[in-house]
Symmetry: C2
Subunit: 304 residues, 2 copies
């Protein structure tokens, strides 16, 4: 099954209570593509980087079977760079540096042979760019999933609404769901958002798990109780990658498949936070993924 | 199976964004006893009230099969009274009035025919009083569960530690677990607390569910996603009541039973918050309880 991932491929520099990194590979597109690559598919990435983006990072993606022809390299320009610092409880972070660079005028180009795709995952980006990708595809994908963030709600809520109206699955966190809907109750927020278009709404609650709404049903996936979160960067993107990867692999879009896809996403996210950046999801044996899915199963299983 | 419940039987006056009550029946002992009465047992309550406590409230307890001989009525004294106000998001409340009255010198008396019990649930009270009950029983119960709160950690942590060392199950919320253990991570907190004595630790996270630790295992029970919480008063006590009621009914204390007992507690708590005070758990048909347990099952069920 074909999957297109749209999202930033970028540099991150991260500081947590456990240490700090120099510029390492980051960006929603990188995390989503890496996570989804564990699901027997060859994710196709649409993104843009500058001339300064190291060949070794592109090779890292390729080595996972990720197709990188859709990553435009802009001569004489610089790659998007984000730097942030997490505090002791890991729930709050300060952004130290944001250099948009090539992202500022990102004009997504879809390689000709990619203009039909079964699955489309829109990573967090300007809703205008996200919509351009949908419009530039020759046919509508079987399933479009979309991530976004409060930043776009603050500065371009109308554009955001137009894009949300086009997608099947919206993935947001609890605070974003509240802002987008104007409802404090998560259940009410999901109902309001569903009226904006998406058939399925996923509301992530960080260490408290994630809720899936759709089809008049609710599914709850716990987060794995971890002793420590080493670096939360990319957890949400990895969740999206595991989620869309599972769906593309199983070629299903019903509620039962969505439930398992949320578990796949939670599983991949639980690895990401164990090390800096993408370190933990660069070399994951299938057996480790399988046994962690098993842990999720056991965590909630009971017979009353 | 015999169950003794120790806890306040009291007056509450509650204000939430949805309305307010006059003095109604409240107190940990009332909620625990009512909730556990739905599990085919006759809970025995040890408590104290003043002369002002209405006969109709005692009759309400009796009508549920609750044995009230252990509720001492102090002539010429007044019943414990708490009044509180919840804010819009229901996570914070202000205590408006606390009149200890009869609770100030509560000297728990165990009716002679109750001096052997299989199950003992110590509702939130002074840890000295909780320990007195354990010491005044002729034989150690098969299982002792205990609730407490940050107040006792603040003012008598040594006495609290002595009591915790005597119990099998400690039930606290996430903030209390953090304060008691000095650890921010819930997983680490549970490990520290388990070294204080209890074999099982339950950490409640309100709308985010509850975690059960013990036996080198972790179980996660979600909270039911609700549109609105009408009145959170007594949710924690009702949880404890459903928990201990399930165990007493099934006469089991292994990890599998604990898991189902946590679901039973979560189920009963999910009813309590739907109306003021004990209103919702005064007349619950078994069929409603059964179908809500089913909702908990469906909420987390997936086949990967």
């Amino acid at each position: 099954m074909s999957l297109i991932v749209v999202g930033s491929v970028a540099f991150d520099a991260i500081e947590t209570p456990y240490g700090k990194t120099d510029k390492i590979i980051g960006g929603a597109g990188s995390y989503i593509a890496l996570a989804s690559s564990y699901f027997g598919i060859k994710p196709r990435v649409i993104s843009v980087v500058g001339e300064d983006f190291p060949e070794e990072y592109l090779s890292l993606l390729s080595s996972h079977g990720i197709e990188i022809q859709g990553i435009e390299v802009k001569k004489g320009e610089k790659t998007f760079f984000w730097s942030g610092k997490y505090h002791q409880n890991m729930n709050q972070r300060d952004t130290l540096i944001t250099e948009l660079n090539v992202l500022e005028k990102f004009d997504p180009k879809i390689p000709e042979e990619w203009d039909k795709t079964d699955y489309l995952m829109l990573g967090n980006l300007s809703p205008i760019v996200q919509r351009q990708v949908i419009e530039r595809l020759e046919t509508r994908p079987k399933l479009i999933a979309m991530d976004t963030m409060n930043f776009w709600m603050d500065i371009m809520s109308e554009e955001l609404a137009k894009t949300i109206a086009l997608v099947d699955v919206l993935i947001v966190n609890d605070e974003e769901a509240r802002q987008l809907s104007g409802e404090h109750s998560i259940v009410k927020a999901a109902r309001v958002i569903s009226k904006m278009g998406p058939q399925y709404i996923i509301i992530k609650k960080g260490e408290h798990g994630a809720l899936l709404f759709g089809n008049e049903q609710i599914f709850f996936a716990p987060a794995l109780p971890l002793e420590e979160v080493f670096d939360p960067t990319g957890a949400g993107d990895t969740f999206a990658g595991g989620f869309i990867g599972y769906l593309a692999q199983h070629q299903k879009t019903d509620f039962d498949a969505m439930k398992s896809a949320v578990i796949a996403g939670s599983t991949m996210a639980s690895f990401t936070v164990e090390q800096f950046g993408t370190d933990r999801i660069q070399h994951l044996p299938q057996s480790e993924i399988d046994s962690r899915v098993k842990r999720f199963e056991n965590l909630v299983k009971f017979s009353y």
